[in-house]
Symmetry: C2
Subunit: 194 residues, 2 copies
């Protein structure tokens, strides 16, 4: 411990591509003004044909004002032919798995940076098992969504395996998407039929 | 009712871009062999730098065998600068909103086609309200994920408003992503630290 603390190495504030000085400054700013942390994220969608539709992500609200991403992100979604679609994009349920992998990975990089661990590689595969007898309405005992989701991570960095596992555990404990998927969120649907 | 039933119009099996003959044939096939409906979807992810990571969606299992999408879909995820990222892609939580919009829209088109309603326009905006004091670890009373999600749809087609609303309601009742988000799914995380 002491050896590490007294190393001559300069503590570069950029670790894992994370500007830790800005990260800690942001935490301090929110500690002073908690309402800055109230965000609203948004996705817009337009139906194209059949199961093919197109999502657009650009505007959001946060830190007290309306904001926009640096560019507009556009994502097609569809079903593959085996599910009577045209395969112009992933299925909606695949985007959920992508969101979980992305959230756990981003959190891991931030937490590792804050705890002075340098990561060299993070890879993951998230799988979701689903019985489509649910959404097809063929078996009332089967739920519509995934029965279970499994995330498998490979993590490499300059810390013992136990420490790397601990970082991922902390990322899970602070993951927005993990919370959404495991605990659920109330959803309200409104419809305008001009 | 009778007037509609006896109209001279040929019943085109392609409605809303949905091949209803194939849709009903698929339902019949699964009714005969329910195990065909067991799918596993997957998302792969590789960390790039900081909160920037890249998801890949290509392989899945379904109808008794390993399958691949017609092409590999790649999606960057990131945080915007205001959340100490580089804005190379949407945030993970925005992908969740996109997934919900896409799932409800695809289901709506299928259900409308099956019930002989021609849609002319479907647009939606899905919003999610989140207090980032949760993921920042600054307030233990605040959850990590969305507090609430709202989906607002505009639907146009050749049916009365009440019918269009009923179609969306049925889409919600059979939506995989709506079920995942509102009811939650157990998630297992495994880590390999070579």
């Amino acid at each position: 411990m002491t050896t590490t603390d007294t190393t001559a190495e300069v503590d570069d504030p950029i670790r894992n591509g994370v500007d830790t000085a800005t990260l800690f400054a942001t935490l301090d700013a929110v500690r002073q003004a908690p309402e800055a942390a109230r965000f609203q994220f948004r996705a817009h969608n337009q139906w194209v044909s059949g199961t093919h539709n197109r999502g657009t992500i650009t505007d959001y609200y946060g830190v007290g004002q309306e904001r926009s991403h640096e560019r507009t992100f556009v994502f097609d979604a569809d079903h593959p032919a085996v599910l009577v679609g045209t395969d112009h994009g992933p299925t909606p349920v695949e985007f959920v798995l992508h969101a979980l992998a992305a959230c756990l990975t981003a959190g891991l990089a931030n937490i590792a940076a804050a705890r002075k661990v340098r990561l060299t590689e993070v890879r993951s595969t998230v799988t979701g098992d689903i019985d489509l007898n649910g959404i097809l309405g063929l078996d009332p005992q089967v739920r519509n969504g995934y029965r279970q989701i499994t995330a498998r991570f490979t993590i490499k960095g300059n810390a013992p395996a136990a420490k790397l596992r601990e970082l991922l555990d902390q990322s899970r404990a602070r993951s927005a998407v993990y919370d959404i998927i495991t605990n659920g969120v109330p959803v309200t649907i409104q419809v305008d039929t001009p």
